[in-house]
């Protein structure tokens, strides 16, 4: 599973992307966030306030209950501020 981080999530985690192999009990976006948050203090800081975190699975916006699987590209980022 490829995980990408953008904006201040990237800065807090300290990397722009990583390949991860979460255990089978990680089934959805919310579960992935909990698992990732335990990987480092940077990850913990990035996911400290879940209300400020948005996700995409395979480049579509995703809700916390969206399933995730081994070959997915999952991205985490703050609410968007373009335009």
């Amino acid at each position: 599973m490829r995980v990408l981080y953008f904006a201040w999530l990237r800065q807090k985690v300290g990397i722009a992307e990583e390949e991860v192999a979460p255990p089978a009990e990680v089934r959805d976006v919310a579960g992935l966030i909990r698992w990732l948050a335990a990987r480092s203090s940077g990850h913990a800081a990035a996911f400290a306030d879940p209300r400020q975190v948005r996700a995409a699975v395979n480049q579509d916006f995703a809700t916390p209950d969206q399933p995730v699987a081994a070959n997915d590209e999952v991205a985490f980022f703050p609410p968007v501020t373009g335009g």
Partner: protein, 151 residues
């Protein structure tokens, strides 16, 4: 078919406008919105980040919605990324139609949705050396949401 570009480079409003009218006589109106970087509070620059691939897809979908909702003869969306100085353009939305209301409404729809539906993130850099990520605004969500209400 919308023309969608996400790029660091500046763009040419006159050329984009000319392109949607050139060689055709069915265009009655061209509406455009040019978003410009303000220099509030000692801002030295904006740095815009995006999600390559997803950003273009998200904009394409918004453009498809606009083209389904209004009879457009052209739809151009150009969003810059990277470092942008106060006074410089950030984004261009340009819509053309036989009818002025279609051009005006779709242009407003697209810029409202770009603010809330396309993955871009702005970081402000100040003359003092400070920097901060721009927070999303509730008013932008409201502006985008009004297009899903009765209209």
């Amino acid at each position: 078919m919308a023309r969608i570009l996400v790029q660091d480079a500046a763009f040419d409003l006159a050329a984009e406008t000319a392109a949607v009218t050139a060689g055709r006589v069915d265009v009655g109106g061209v509406a455009s919105f040019l978003g410009v970087c303000r220099g509030d509070d000692g801002l030295a620059a904006l740095v815009l980040e995006h999600y390559p691939g997803m950003t273009e897809r998200a904009i394409s979908r918004i453009a498809e919605q606009a083209e389904a909702r209004w009879p457009l003869t052209a739809c151009t969306i150009i969003h810059r990324t990277g470092r942008i100085l106060p006074g410089e353009p950030i984004v261009l939305v340009l819509t053309a139609s036989s009818h002025r209301a279609a051009a005006l409404e779709s242009c407003a729809f697209l810029i409202d949705w770009l603010k809330t539906g396309a993955p871009f993130w702005k970081r402000e850099e100040f003359a003092s050396g400070d920097h901060r990520w721009v927070a999303a605004k509730a008013e932008d969500d409201e502006a985008a949401a009004r297009w899903t209400g009765a209209a």
